[in-house]
Symmetry: C3
Subunit: 366 residues, 3 copies
Amino acid sequence: MSTTSAQQARRSALDSALDVGRAPFPGAGSNGALQWVDRVLRGTGQVVFQANWLTGLLILVAIGINSPVYLVAAVVGVAASTATALLLRMEHGMVDAGLTGFNGCLFGIGLVAYLSRDFTAGSWPSALVWAYVVVGAAMTTVMLSAIGSLLGSRTTPALTSPFVFTAWIFLFATLRFSRLVPGPLLDPSLPTPLVHGDVYPLGTWFLGTFKGIAEIFFQDNWVSGLVILLAIAVNSRMSALMGLLGSVLGVGVAMLSGARATTIALGLFGFNAALTAMALGGVFFVLNRAGFCYTLFGVVVTVWAWATMSVLLSPVGMPTFTSAFVLVGWVFIIGKAGFRAVVPIDPGLSTYPEDNLRRWRADQLS
Amino acid sequence: MSTTSAQQARRSALDSALDVGRAPFPGAGSNGALQWVDRVLRGTGQVVFQANWLTGLLILVAIGINSPVYLVAAVVGVAASTATALLLRMEHGMVDAGLTGFNGCLFGIGLVAYLSRDFTAGSWPSALVWAYVVVGAAMTTVMLSAIGSLLGSRTTPALTSPFVFTAWIFLFATLRFSRLVPGPLLDPSLPTPLVHGDVYPLGTWFLGTFKGIAEIFFQDNWVSGLVILLAIAVNSRMSALMGLLGSVLGVGVAMLSGARATTIALGLFGFNAALTAMALGGVFFVLNRAGFCYTLFGVVVTVWAWATMSVLLSPVGMPTFTSAFVLVGWVFIIGKAGFRAVVPIDPGLSTYPEDNLRRWRADQLS
Amino acid sequence: MSTTSAQQARRSALDSALDVGRAPFPGAGSNGALQWVDRVLRGTGQVVFQANWLTGLLILVAIGINSPVYLVAAVVGVAASTATALLLRMEHGMVDAGLTGFNGCLFGIGLVAYLSRDFTAGSWPSALVWAYVVVGAAMTTVMLSAIGSLLGSRTTPALTSPFVFTAWIFLFATLRFSRLVPGPLLDPSLPTPLVHGDVYPLGTWFLGTFKGIAEIFFQDNWVSGLVILLAIAVNSRMSALMGLLGSVLGVGVAMLSGARATTIALGLFGFNAALTAMALGGVFFVLNRAGFCYTLFGVVVTVWAWATMSVLLSPVGMPTFTSAFVLVGWVFIIGKAGFRAVVPIDPGLSTYPEDNLRRWRADQLS
């Protein structure tokens, strides 16, 4: 009894402090400009499942220290997709929670990145490309509404699927237009098996893990990855730990299977795995023992599913984005209907892992 | 008040005249053969969303002046898919409205066109190919029933998806059979980026726009396009205008993005855009100001989505058909559930744009 | 009256004898090990829609006489997917009926086969590959639960889709890993049309038909096909006849269309057709006259759909598995909602064709 009380007391103290970022941005209630600041920051935070403007702010810092181009692209993307939701008069609850912004955020960075000559630093886009990015980010909102309606959004989240599908539509198309020039990474070719196993240099694991976190936002920079982990921890230490575990496991499974060392070191085996780990581990399932095992299972499958998506898209030379996470995440979340061993959390009821776990223990989750 | 009355009076006079084509074909009620004439013509008209036998008749004329082969293929396709619906005892309302015929119509022409040595004029098929076309057209009816059931056909129309999916199944297969010979346009290759921008010769816009309308029915002939526009106007001038606007916009967006001039002039950037414009603009959404903007948004995305589908299908060398329209149309129609700014119309309640708008203004649409 | 009574009497005598295999494996009620024997055998039988441990036993014999590797792979697959269902606390009815085992069975054999240097006999996998197979077989159970939930499993069965999707995920991935080596049949290439028609040597039809049955379980051996037909007949002679008819028809349609002789003789045009014939003909539709015609229609389409899937997967060099059956099976089963000419049977109510037909005649099917 006393231990529980002590734990709850400790929780209260720390979480009251952290509640600053969960509450609206200071002044957002009365000032329209500050309300937009809240929307952009919270929308950015929702990419990693955290409805917290402080998380969003730190993520933008993480992006900005790597590339000012991508920082602007992220802000433009969130703003365009959120403005579209307001124009089409979508439900306010979704807009206020940042749920109409995160697909636009990823779309903005992703499109600019794959249309840049230099993927790592990014190139400033032309006016036409900016217009293309704004229309595409707006499209993620229509896509979100459609997918939400198809899946029944009360029980199944759209995850980052609106971003993935819209980005594919807008990126594939560039091969047919001389004024929308695809970057050098978009190179259609038939896939071929790996014949020789790589030796993994010291540092592959470290780079792969932290770039894995950074690649969620297309940043080829391990420092950005570290700052993003910190940004997540500001709202939920459990989510940060799960994200880290996901990326570590992604690298581990890829090494065990004999993936190419350069691909691992770029973080490409980590970013989908990290998202699956955070989504299943605490956000859409209670992170009890069964939920933890279920999450590990999903993470391992995600690593191979990423390889599969990269093979499937090879003949058209297109990137996987977070499709492996969406695929595996959906299967594991929709599959919940048949399993009594795990405790699912409906999207509308989920807050953050620690809080979800606490409410489940107190029988307040339903 | 007086303006409204005058408008309504004017409407009545013109629309009573046009009601001839909306009513059953003369004598169809008592004569089985004439009933089949009604079914074939109305089914053809439904490709462009018009339940009007006069529209269908004029479309068949438009096809016939370009190619007698395609005229016969269209009739065979509508008849085969409609007969299948009757044999399987599908709901009579759907059969009578021509909704079980239009996918067969497109399938008939499409299959024959891509199995012809000369795409523009068409070649007379062998007996085996005719049998193949009939079985495939029959399959569009099963596909229609399945997709309708999956989507919930009361709220979401199948659009031309039964045709697209069935045509892909029947066309891809021909690469594996020596007696079903694919035409010269079916040429698998890896997609490559466009390096040089084209100069657009005078006439590209004109040809692209009217061939864009004609390409809905696979006709590489701008005169056919003009006649098809007239055919649509016989039932709804709004639909005709939206179709024209869609094709014009398709050409415009393609030029702005730097598409290949020959592709534009063939109408390939127009036909999906025209279908999206007619479907969203007046048929499945009330064509008020918000509905008009929503439609323009959808049309622009359709242009790029067509390019995307053509890239995606490049490694197997297969045509996009109307897949870009189906994809964007579905996203924009299914997305309606989340948006209060636009006024959707359930498929079963929609008649034609002018009538839908009038009933909405009179609060009779629900 | 007397004829009916005589028929029922005759039925009772034969079917009482056959009920041995439908009832639990002797001793399974009290002994955990024997319960697992029942689960593995019944799960194997469910691949061909027969909830009968004797069917499963004979199928394992049919596999074993061709390859001990595949025999072990089948057993490992069923066991791993069934154990996952128990661990995740899935509904007991599904586990007991073998419905959580058959996708794992196919996955086990399929993965091992396509990672073997010699497809026909199979090669013993490494420990890493065994682990890969076990994780993948477990994944088929999560996939089954997700697809069942999406489709509404009371009206639409998942068929072998959990196997197909999971096998694609796990097989495509191997091209990216040096320690998971794809077999020689996985060879990405652009598809090309067949220019010359083949002459079909005597025996093509015989080999194609019986290897077609064997290929359901990846066995390149006509004797195995014969034994599998016998195994099916032990539970339902109607199913065995439909399977045989499906395979014969698959070969016939392929010859008529001009398919390559070697492909036909390998049974590749038969196995999907046989599955469609058994699924539609008696299991998910009453095998009355209309049901029989509907089934034939589906079988013919399946043959071409298989060719289509093989073209579609050519650029990534991946096998079709039973995707053509799943695609056509779903369209024909989901399409039932619109057709009054055929009598569908809900998955939960279906037993085996003879019994379904009898209950429908006695008005006991609803």
